[in-house]
Structure formats: structure tokens, C-alpha cells
């Protein structure tokens, strides 16, 4: 079924966006990325270390996967804007997964700094995909600021707690005019399917695959879950009923 994901005029046939953090080795990551079917994958920007061996960039290039730099680790708008500009220069992409976090313990987004950074990066010509809280008002403000998508969390990064407030995600999807990408908190395949059933355009995940006992197998399960959830959304689920509705004709 031809049902591409459209972000800022670019189409993707996979609705699963992967992160590369947490994999035990580049080889395991490589196999997981292949099994996931992803076409867009995040990387972080860090200081060059002479000791660093093997490049995640080479791997993504070989796989033909588009790179999406993030601003992970930034606590202020100014830091995030600087990292985004460095990423654009290093990776020749104006796309950025914008992360501005409030503290190390929760890794929750700081909405004030996030919005300020988004406004500045949009003005600077970036295609901004912000990692945000599941607050519908913040999501709306980010869209109004010119973001190409909004990426609300299901629960904190790496927590695997799934989607804690499905109602908020539905509210965000209902009013958004840009793709809503469920980012962070996915623990297992059913969480990814639920995100898609709620109407999210895509799912972004890393930990649930890279730290699974078998990352390659979990990547495949996420690929199938995202597809299954998307198909269920398009098919239209039956209404929930308080009492039974016989599926066989009456006996006589």
C-alpha cells in the first residue's frame, strides 16, 4: 500500500524513524537499522576524539539512510542553535531534531528554551523537528513557530514506559497541521502500534531496539508494529461498546 510519510516536502516510505544511541556495537546497530526498514535516523553531535573508531555516518551512508542530527545534551536555546549550526556544516543537512532538555534526571524538554530555539532556527532556514512534551499547547506554539513536525514524548527518554497520556497525544494529532511523530518512551511493539493508532504520522525510537536482548529482532517487530498500527488507523476501528454485540446470527 502506497502511503508515504511526508515531512517538509520530502517523502519516506517508512514511518519508523530510528535513533542510533545505545547499541552495543556498530555491527549490531547496522543489522537493527536494516531490519527496521528506517529511512531517517538520528545522530548526536559530540567533540571529535582522536580515539573514536568506526563511524556511524559511514554506516548510514552505506545503507542509504538519511541522517537527522539532534541537539541532545543542550540545556539552553543558545547551545542548541550552535549545535544545529555545527551539524548543518558537518553533515550538509538543514534538518535538525531539536532537543532542549531541562535536567539530566528526567531529560524532559524545557518548553521555553525549546520554543526560543525553534523560532531562531526556523528564521535561520532550518527544517526543525522538535522533541517536545505531550502538551497540546506547546505543540501548537511550535507549529505556529514554523516547525516542520512536532515530536511529543510518550514518556521520558529511555524509560520504556510507553504512552502515558494517550488523550494528550490524540489532542495534539487532532489539531496539528504538520506531522506528529511520537518520540521517546516506546518500550515494546504494542506502544509503537498504539502511537500509530492514535494518528501519529510516525514513531521515533532508539532504546527499545538498541537495548533489547535481540536488537535486530526487535527492530523487525517495530517495523511491523508501526505498519500494523498505521493500517488499523486507516481501516477504522470498531466503536467500543458497553455490552456484547453478537457476531453470529440468533439461534432461531
Amino acid at each position: 500500500m502506497d502511503d508515504p510519510l511526508l515531512i517538509a516536502g520530502e517523502t519516506f516510505s517508512s514511518r519508523l524513524i530510528m535513533g542510533t544511541g545505545g547499541a552495543p556495537s556498530l555491527d549490531v546497530l547496522d543489522r537493527a537499522l536494516a531490519a527496521s526498514g528506517t529511512e531517517l535516523t538520528t545522530v548526536a553531535m559530540r567533540r571529535v576524539s582522536p580515539a573514536s573508531a568506526g563511524s556511524v555516518l559511514d554506516l548510514l551512508t552505506e545503507r542509504g539512510i538519511r541522517v537527522l542530527p539532534n541537539t541532545a545534551g543542550c540545556f539552553t536555546a543558545a547551545e542548541a542553535v550552535r549545535v544545529a549550526r555545527l551539524a548543518r556544516e558537518a553533515l550538509h543537512t538543514s534538518w535538525v531534531k531539536l532537543e532542549v532538555i531541562a535536567d539530566e534526571r528526567t531529560l524532559l524538554p524545557d518548553p521555553v528554551e525549546l520554543l526560543a530555539a525553534a523560532e531562531q532556527l526556523v528564521a535561520d532556514g532550518f527544517t526543525v523537528l522538535p522533541y517536545t512534551s505531550d502538551d497540546p499547547v506547546v505543540a501548537r506554539r511550535l507549529e505556529q513557530a514554523g516547525c516542520a513536525a512536532v515530536m511529543p514524548l510518550g514518556s521520558p527518554i529511555g524509560s520504556g514506559l510507553g504512552i502515558r497520556n494517550q488523550h494528550n497525544i490524540e489532542l495534539i494529532v487532532e489539531s496539528a497541521g504538520v506531522p506528529v511523530i511520537l518520540d521517546a518512551g516506546i518500550g515494546t511493539a504494542s506502544d509503537a502500534a498504539i502511537a500509530m493508532e492514535l494518528g501519529c504520522a510516525a514513531v521515533l525510537l532508539a532504546t527499545s531496539v538498541t537495548r533489547a536482548r535481540d536488537p535486530e529482532l526487535m527492530a523487525e517487530s517495530m517495523r511491523l508494529a508501526v505498519s500494523a498500527g498505521r493500517l488499523a488507523l486507516l481501516a477504522g476501528r470498531v466503536p467500543r461498546r458497553r455490552y456484547a454485540l453478537a457476531s453470529s446470527p440468533p439461534a432461531s
Partner: protein, 66 residues
Amino acid sequence: MRVIINGEARQVADPISLAAAVALLTSAPSGVAAAVNGDVVRRGAWQSTRLADGDEVEVLTAVQGG
């Protein structure tokens, strides 16, 4: 002269270009970006950018994350 490269103070030749300072860390032909005192310098300008005493240079690349 003394400059700070990725947080580490280093004695370097004077004059030194940004290109030469980056080369102290990596020979990667691509995938690397540099900033001097917080301002990104395009790769095409590394050769012509002269560092001054006390400059802070950041050299970043993509790593697994996100």
C-alpha cells in the same frame, strides 16, 4: 601560543590556521564542523582563519545518539 581545543589547553605554533588546529585531532575529510569562540566557521574558510592566543576551538562530529 596557547589555544583551547575541545576543552583542552594546547601550545600551538604561531601563526596557526583553523585547518591546522583541526588536523591535530582528526584527518576525516568530511563529517566534521568547527567553531571558534562559539561562531561556526565554514570548512572553506578553515585555511584562511588564523587563530589568536586564547581562542576556544570546538571540533564536532556525528556519533551514535538519539
